[in-house]
Symmetry: C2
Subunit: 542 residues, 2 copies
């Protein structure tokens, strides 16, 4: 069996090494257009920032090491320029010599990845992108000589880039067309990341568009000119599907190669993995690109199993993603509220602001959590978290719960490891379960931050049940203050009609709402409390 | 409705506050024998050690704060001395005045917890235990005046105590009857914790028994005398079931109160929660005590739901537990290998030694992981982890996977949050899935560290596929060294007959075993590699 793998990084190299372990006799050829195979894509921004000091740390394998260990025929600077599934051949161009040759195969794996999108702006030829080792070399050379930079795009990569430019002492502006950073997150969850960026001196231009790149500036659509010795494009990636298109393979609406759940393309004997394909979304069943390293690695191993004749099925994807930026971590899994809204799906949102570990143990810092739940089935639809500590753990647990079909209310039953350094006797994830259970059973009704304005207009009584000291430092305009501990005695002060109760994070509000409800009031609790409202409306935080 | 709750800490106070939120009209009386309610049990050792500097941090609520917020009638220093389910009354003794009175109830919740076991040794009246605030006050006073201490018992509490005594500069000996620290863990997983304790100057006396406590010494069964200005008993707890026994409630074989899945005891209108009850083991379905704070909190809320008439069911328990000690974390969920062996259950063990995050990102430190799998169903039976970093996350993910019925092989499909600070493109949990899949499908066969001696006796070829440098620093006695990268060319050197392959952690061994198997050898890979073998046999680590 002769297998040709086009692309020698995450997916391609996982496929090649797994295939060798499964078949000592297979002939395995890896064609890689770039200079390097198996490099650490996700580490590139940190090498630019100096966090990863040595370039060789990025280079996990070489053609020589792969030949010695796995008897792989790895050919770098070798581009597959045409693919003919009919005759099972690829034309390969050696980039250095310009020589072209025909290579035959029994099975072929496309792992060509995705390339950074560079819009056709005036001056865009000066913009850098960061996808491979050649890019990182260019960028590393550049950053040591510049004083200012513009990063276009405030997605995960754009934010990582901005952080690392600041680490190098570069005055950095991030220009983002959308109204927030980290578009996959919901507004109120992304807001702390924006604040963190600004706190570290990054200028954020949200709702702004770059229209021209000059010699050492960049011009925005509103004609403002931003210093930009360096311009980095991070507005997104698109599947590198040119080879697949040329071969007549089916391409999806998002531009990725269409594969089935055994990673077979529309042509027999041709498979595709990683950023170049469209995966099946776990919630909608629709195809979607998931340009994430873990998905690529997983699919690489899987396609080797398929080729070797093992039973293996590619599961649908939830797209768990994480970002560390300065002292903050933001992560998510599944769908966001805005995506659910756009798809017209019914959902229930829950916000909480627990401490990452027991408050009585030193160093406990806050996390903001959001859970999205199907109100009919209690299914978890998505989760988001942002905070200094313990964010990755909670999102991993929630992603695992989703994979295991654990419903939102049952999160309360999870037995999570508790000692005061690591969590709480009622872990933040358990608490989400308690909250979901209260909503599911009707024990509690909540309102979202986005409903506050309407409530004010409708003349709803806004009841702040925090302490007078907290109230004095700022509250929702028009709110009256009756501290929770006085509420039983002072309930007569509350007018008839609907009451919107809130506290700092929602817990005292829960007790107050339960109390008022039992006293006959039409009370709802503001989900996530004052903190979520502040994050969403960008009022100063307490 | 009048509800009496006996015991005002984790389970009891969760019950009381939840019940108030569900019913504003219920009369709720909490009887607490001690001086304090709702204190931070799990923080006590850290207050002794000075990590938690302020005593008031331990006191989460007071009778006054609970009256103001939840209208609870909290009576401290009030002991329920007899319970009559028939007449629905308790006799309460006020410990200060000695006065006794009868209190009636409609429903009663027993949350009396567990007490530390103190064996009847000569001099044992001098030994301290650590269960409540009075204990911690005694101990805090003592530690400022002593130079030496003996902790009896190397379980979770004993190890936490020893760590905190060392923090106070006290020369500490831990005396443990069993052959290892942390009996719930398997030998090879507990070994790094023992090493960490010794590295911090703690003397470990394993397989040792205390027979006498003198004025400032303690005597072991082998007549050795250990300095012991202070003696702390941490050999375990037993359910505080005297009140329940006196009332004629059913008591289980482990001494805990028997409850059904709605936390009802054998007497109508009497419920029990927390350390005093026996929970249902998730794997065996048998009753077992689970003296853990999270279980108690969970049951407290649940019993309030039951009393309020909400549908609520107490799920079976897996007993997830965690320990932080100096720079190390150890955690587990489900069953250990030794427990599976003792129960005669079939299992498959997997060991791995991944880095907590991507190796190319600075600060990556190792974790040792162990997974126990049902070889017939692929069900996860248990997991253990020990390491400097990322241990809590992996055990929480594995506990969640178990709760969700995710089988061992499917761990490879989990979409866990990956950026190089937080994990790897193939997360350690995914890797366990890959390993389990290889075993399930027969792609790989492994041997356990405990089978090495038999293999040597049987004349099996022990093949070390690490580098010559690693081999030179130490290997399994009798092993020959052929580095993986030379194995294809030198395979002829390997004698006919069975081959036991190993490397440092098992990954190169996997590749080598696959290669040899395909070349016709009868090869198996040493699970967990040289590192697991070293940990288990206490050879010096590489």
């Amino acid at each position: 069996m002769k297998v040709v793998i086009v692309g020698g990084v995450a997916g391609g190299m996982s496929a090649a090494t797994r295939l060798r372990r499964l078949s000592e006799t297979a002939e395995i050829i890896v064609l890689e257009r770039g200079d390097h195979v198996s490099f650490a894509n996700c580490g590139l921004p940190y090498y630019v920032g100096g966090v990863i000091p040595k370039r060789e740390s990025l280079l996990l394998q070489t053609p020589e090491s792969l030949a010695a260990r796995f008897r792989l025929d790895v050919r770098v600077r070798s581009e597959a320029i045409t693919l003919d599934p009919e005759s099972r051949t690829v034309v390969v161009r050696e980039l250095d010599s310009g020589r072209e040759y025909l290579e035959s195969f029994d099975e072929l794996v496309l792992s060509t990845g995705a390339s950074a999108i560079v819009p056709p702006l005036p001056g865009a030829d000066r913009a850098l992108v960061l996808r491979d080792v050649a890019d990182v070399d260019r960028m590393s050379a550049a950053v040591s000589e510049v004083g200012s930079a513009v990063v276009v795009g405030a997605g995960f990569i754009g934010v990582e880039m901005a952080e690392n430019l600041v680490r190098r002492g570069i005055s950095t502006t991030v220009v983002e067309r959308g109204p927030q950073v980290l578009a996959p997150l919901d507004t109120e969850m992304a807001a702390p990341v924006a604040a963190e960026l600004r706190e570290h001196g990054i200028r954020l231009e949200l709702g702004a568009e770059l229209v021209r790149i000059g010699a050492d500036t960049a011009t925005l659509a509103d004609r403002r000119v931003v210093p930009a010795d360096l311009v980095i494009m991070a507005i997104g990636v698109r599947p590198e599907s040119a080879l697949a298109r040329g071969a007549g393979l089916d391409i999806g609406s998002a531009g990725g190669v269409v594969v089935d759940d055994r990673l077979r393309t529309s042509a027999p004997h041709v498979y595709a993995v990683g950023d170049v394909v469209e995966k099946t979304d776990a919630l909608s069943g629709e195809p979607m690109p998931v340009p994430l390293a873990n998905a690529a690695n997983r699919q690489g191993r899987l396609v080797a199993d398929v080729i070797a004749g093992l039973p293996a099925v590619d599961p649908p994807a939830s797209g768990t993603a994480i970002l560390g930026v300065f002292g903050l971590t933001a992560a998510m899994t599944g769908w966001s509220e805005k995506r659910l809204r756009a798809a017209g799906r019914r959902f229930r949102a829950l916000h909480s602001h627990p401490l990452a570990h027991a408050g009585y143990y030193p160093g406990a810092r806050g996390i903001s959590l959001k859970l999205l739940v199907d109100p009919d089935t209690d299914e978890i639809l998505g989760a988001q978290a942002v905070g200094a500590d313990g964010v990755d753990k909670r999102i991993d647990v929630l992603a695992t719960a989703m994979a295991g079909g654990i419903t939102a209310s049952r999160l309360m039953d999870l037995e999570l490891a508790y000692a005061p350094q690591f969590g709480s006797a009622k872990d933040p994830v358990n608490m989400l379960g308690y909250m979901a259970d209260n909503l599911r059973t009707g024990v509690l009704r909540t309102a979202q931050w986005s409903e506050v304005d309407d409530a004010i207009v409708a003349g709803t009584c806004l009841l702040d049940v925090r302490s007078p000291e907290e109230y004095a430092e700022g509250s929702i305009p028009g709110a009256v203050n009756i501290p929770l501990d006085e509420l039983r005695d002072r309930a007569a002060e509350i007018p008839a009609g609907p009451v919107l109760v809130f506290c700092r994070v929602g817990q005292r509000g829960n007790s107050a709402t339960r109390l008022l409800t039992q006293l006959g009031h039409d009370a709802v609790n503001l989900d996530g409390g004052y903190l979520t409202w502040c994050a969403a409306t960008a009022a100063p935080h307490p």
